[in-house]
Symmetry: C2
Subunit: 195 residues, 2 copies
DNA sequence: CTTGGACAGTCAACAAGGCTGACGTAAAAT
DNA sequence: ATTTTACGTCAGCCTTGTTGACTGTCCAAG
């Protein structure tokens, strides 16, 4: 079924992942639009992308884990609290849709967070079936300390990589999101908190 | 070390991945072109990076999950089998180090994979304490169908984003890896399978 | 040689956080 | 008014993470 070396023709290429090695053949100015270079997208190159996602995610997550551990929370609490903070007043089902987990998984950690006073849950005014969620001041404080941990890494990386690389990074990640949810996800991601 | 032309000042920043909504502070028409603007690395921009990693990883992983489900395996099996396939003959502790999980988590799934004939485990010839792991033909077949699922997404994304974006993507991810393990991880990632 | 420590891997028991299914209640549809 | 649908909750199961105790192997000091 597949390919050891199926080169699918594409524009795009990336000689080596990190900037440590000098870019091999760049082929600039080939006369093609947009990404410019026409080159082979081998399975090996795609595999590199997947593996890099794994390792980067693994290490990025670890920053927050260290903070969570001191509070007795896990990753599930983090995700839940983070998005509630991002969208104050969101309902449980909106949160479910964002996290793509089941109600029960969410409910367990959500209940803890409410009991612990990190999240405030109140019955929806127009639709009383809903529970509208908001982060309390304590919840916000925790979100902030979690963000700080991860932002430190991000800040270093973004500075080292430079603006163009960061732009590319964001473009690729945005494209990687399922098309169904992409629009709403990007609306969330790009929404300014203070606004 | 790793990167290209990195100024110490925050050069960088990417307004938004792609416009689902033109975010505030776009600085368009400032006379500086994209990539060259010197701009502040705000917390909001860092937060976008973290959130995009979450969503992209979530959806990327889902591709493989669908395949795994049909075989009765989970993500842990996937990771384990994948890296054994990448480094035939690797020992259990090397694998532990790659995955950064504890022995027992690994051992459970590893045992299943060995029992199911996906991985071959043999005593190390020079050091009989070691168990050297290799993917069997069946294991390789499974790895391939898992890769196919994820590569389809990667291929589309890489083509759509273009070569430069892909380059930036890989640069940023590589920088995001813990410095301690970065070198060895990149050696693994960049290692060509057929070589 | 042998003994003690370090290292590789295994096994047992437990916790976190996924999942499905059953259920009560509120809103909508008939 | 009654059925149907949607939202949130509760109970129970399974995967996969963790720590701790254990076996077997290697190597170095006595």
């Amino acid at each position: 079924m597949s390919s050891a070396d199926t080169p699918s023709r594409a524009r795009g290429a990336s000689p080596g992942p990190q900037g440590a090695r000098p870019p091999a053949a760049r082929m600039r100015g080939s006369g093609l639009n947009r990404g410019d270079q026409l080159l082979f997208l081998t399975d090996a190159q795609l595999r590199q992308g997947v593996e890099l996602m794994f390792f980067a995610y693994r290490d990025m997550i670890a920053d927050a884990d260290r903070v969570l551990e001191t509070r007795g929370y896990g990753r599930a609490h983090h995700r839940c609290l983070h998005f509630v903070w991002r969208r104050p007043g969101m309902s449980v089902s909106e949160l479910l849709d964002t996290l793509k987990v089941t109600k029960q998984s969410l409910n367990r950690v959500l209940r803890q967070l409410v009991e612990d006073g990190m999240i405030d849950s109140k019955v929806g005014p127009s639709d009383r079936r809903q529970r509208l969620l908001t982060a309390t001041p304590e919840g916000e404080a925790l979100v902030r300390s979690l963000s700080d941990a991860q932002n430190a890494r991000m800040r270093r990386v973004f500075m080292e990589a430079g603006a163009e690389a960061v732009q590319g990074f964001k473009t690729v990640l945005a494209d990687m999101i399922d098309e169904d949810s992409r629009e709403s996800v990007l609306a969330l991601v790009n929404d300014q908190p203070g606004a």
